[in-house]
Subunit: 296 residues, 2 copies
Amino acid sequence: MDFLEFMKYYQIRCEDLMKDFIEKKAPSFPSRLSEAMAYALFAGGKRLRPLLVYGAGTLYQVPHELLDPLAMAVEFIHTYSLIHDDLPAMDDDDLRRGRPACHIAYDEATAILAGDALQCLAFEALSESQSVLPPKIQLEIIHRLAVSIGQRGMALGQMLDLIASDAFMEVEALNRIHELKTGALIQTSLIMGAKANPSVFSEDISYLEEVGYWLGLGFQIRDDLLDVTGTTEQLGKPQGSDHLNEKITYPVLMGMEAAEAQAHFCFQQAENALKKINGNTHMLHSLGEYLIIRDK
Amino acid sequence: MDFLEFMKYYQIRCEDLMKDFIEKKAPSFPSRLSEAMAYALFAGGKRLRPLLVYGAGTLYQVPHELLDPLAMAVEFIHTYSLIHDDLPAMDDDDLRRGRPACHIAYDEATAILAGDALQCLAFEALSESQSVLPPKIQLEIIHRLAVSIGQRGMALGQMLDLIASDAFMEVEALNRIHELKTGALIQTSLIMGAKANPSVFSEDISYLEEVGYWLGLGFQIRDDLLDVTGTTEQLGKPQGSDHLNEKITYPVLMGMEAAEAQAHFCFQQAENALKKINGNTHMLHSLGEYLIIRDK
């Protein structure tokens, strides 16, 4: 399978799995809540985090059936975080992936609850008893995810981002925000995929932590750059919205050229870490390229 | 231990455990997010759900060390749900337990994130590797909790409650809301405590489901009654706020006297279910009394 086939195959696989899962787990009567969850979930996302799960898992020969719940879980978490980030009290974004944000299509209360319910849906997926993963591994994966999205991870990143928006900032502080807000879940997606093989080496886990760190940072820098250079259509949200919201971004802090160089530096660092791993890292390499060097 | 000693002992135990846990799990630097989580968590709650965990667990001779993470988890979840329920987009309550609600003491964004982070903190507590519970049981407990608070449980209950607030309603529909919004987590607290003994009979689990169902309903009816008869000081929120918010409550639907009778009926039903269980159900009996027959 080449990279484009890999991407396409797992995007569709994850999409189908989530559709089945959401339907199976919804209440038996029509529910505004489940509708809003599905609205946010099936909005044409690229499923990058599931791809990272599959990418890391296949590197360690994990059968993809074992990776499926993991892939769904990270996408449920990512979607919940987007719904809550878009809320008026947070980043106040009306558009997401070219469509009205969840709180616009529904309302704020429904959006808050849809995010809440997607969060626990992730833990539901990870704790299903029919999983063929050893229970101890399932628990490790659950623990890793719970830690990485909470008060020391993703939620903290969003908090720091909100506090920071109108203050003077240095690159280190911006790195710290994105390490938590974006990086933590990207790292965790890789680690979850790898841990699904119980005999993965602990050194490999720490290499993957490094890979994830640099991918997360590079991905965010690219995102900031695209907000300046992309079109509204490409972005699925108004071009220049970071600027409009007076968001502190890498281009703002260091200029376009230096930010572009920094993105490439991140990719290089991810590559270096990846090289320390024995095995076929081709898909992860291409995924990194896709995350950081992409132009839309 | 008599009931008051039991209650006092486990309230303090749970309080201390949560303080330790929150401190241990907070980031190493001062964080507005962790502060807001602690603010909401340590506001003098009665720790009823942890008491249900300990009550059901001790009925099945589970050592309380094994119940501690379970007790914390249900209180983290309960606190997260209160924070989100109080938000302006939801029930818009400024007071909680006699103090400014989390979004008033901090702000809406912080409150949303504090709730989010408390949710995953529950799953972090339940998946800790040092637990002496068998991993399979840990997973079962995680799964049960995840299911009961999501799109078929607590979150759905809150959604139905919000949609219903200005519509005509029958008692059955109100029961349904409270079965989900309040009852699901109360049932789950009992089930989690019992399941911590791997050899608990499946019949007992279904009796406890029944007990939890009636306790949840009776507890909610009592809550509605107290909103009419209690003082603002007793309630920790303005007396009559349900009426002010045009909330549909049991007293509104059936009158005070019938609602009072219904509360006692619920308690009796819980008692009947409890009697089917072999063992010392004294603490659960007293807890039920405390939940439903209390006067503040």
